[in-house]
Amino acid sequence: MTLNIHRTKRLILFAAALLMFSYTLHAGKTKTKFLEVEFLSDVKSIIPGSSFRIGLSLEIKKGWHTYWRNPGDAGMEIKLDWDLPEGFNAGEIKWPVPEKLPFAGMANYIYEDELVLISDIYVPPGFSSETAVIGLKANLLVCKEKCLPDSFSIRKTLPVSTKSTEIDKSIAALFDNIESGLPEKAAFQLNAEILNGSISLLIPHDFLEGKSFDSIEFYPYYKGIFDHGAEQEIINEEGSYKLMLTLGLFADGPPSRLNGLLILLDKNKNKKVLEIDVPIINKS
């Protein structure tokens, strides 16, 4: 009888230790001078021939900021280098909507406080290892009044299962919440044109569904083409608003497409963000 109790106790202790050990293995946390980093996955095990989501959670030191995929007039976008097992693929980063920071006639697109960058990870069907190590190297520029480079490496080990995947409910809920805040793709094509060096985006009144907006702004995905600090004048034409965009000094001619985010703010500061990708028609 006594022997059984001891064995049970030992088994329980062993199981507890294993749980704690696997938690730290899975935890994927690190800290830098400016960042508290967590590497999250929405599954507890991965299945060959499927995909799951990885999220890089960054808590940025108060008062400091880092940059969007287009940093704006200065700065540097967050750079991620994946280190994945053979046959794995990481999808594009799902960039959350940045803040526009205007200053001295220029503007940058930044992130402050908290940020979670989510990517889909594809697992090849033939993957036969028992575990998969997902690694990432990040390079950032973190700025307050001055700018400093920051970087880290982080990895996460996930067990491979052949049965149905085990979803991490709380992480999945977090990711779903973040993804619900990502820009929606614009429901119908807007028109963009260039006339005598001036690019304009035509937004039909219908497009705004009768709602009135206090401000409309365009954040381009292109780096270095547009004058980010220039005021984006809105001209009210027949049936549509014309948003005027200015090319910067470093543009070698106009781009062929206009892609980026359209930010619409109503009078209660509610933000609607649309992702647009339209050809620019030359009317010169």
Binding site: D73, A74, G75, M76, F103, A104, G105, M106, N108, N139, L141, C143, E145, K146, C147, L148, P149, K223, G224, I225, G248, L249, F250, A251, D252
Partner: protein, 204 residues
Amino acid sequence: MKITRIFMAILIIIFASVGMQAGAIAIDKAAPDFTLLDHKGKEVKLSDFKGKYVVLEWINFGCPFVKKHYKSKNMQMLQEKYTGKDVVWLSICSSAPGNQGHFENSRIGELINNFGYKGSHYLIDESGEIGKLYGAKTTPDMRIINPEGILIYAGAIDNIVSTKPDDVKDAENYVAKVLDAVLAGEERPMKVSKPYGCSVKYAK
């Protein structure tokens, strides 16, 4: 009636041309003249150098992107190489007083010595007027002006956006690329690129 119409037409033409001249700096247009003091207090005018190629280098010794090029000795190498080919190299600091990169003249002298600076002049643009005139956004941010006073290049120093001095040797240097071509009488291989660096620390 006729005279009034002609007068109006002339007025319109005058206003239109003034508007165009007051417009922003542009590639293949005349680079506007400026006068600045260097760190030794000497007055330097862009027009002093008509007949020579001039490189403008926006600088801030506190910025990690500028340090990348100075710690690796890349900037000093370019300065020495091209001033040796009769190119004038003007570094311009448009940091406002109290902002990063702004130093007392004596401190500039020290930094220049320590880094082994090989440019022609380190010019002080505290008000930021010349930086804004030339559309300088970052440090570094480069301009190349030809002997006729035309702006022929604006943008980055090279093609690797990072703060790592190690990256300099792997990068394609745009300033060298353009200067080597035009000094050999060849066609300019590029006109613009997106500059990278810290923002120029203009007054808020």
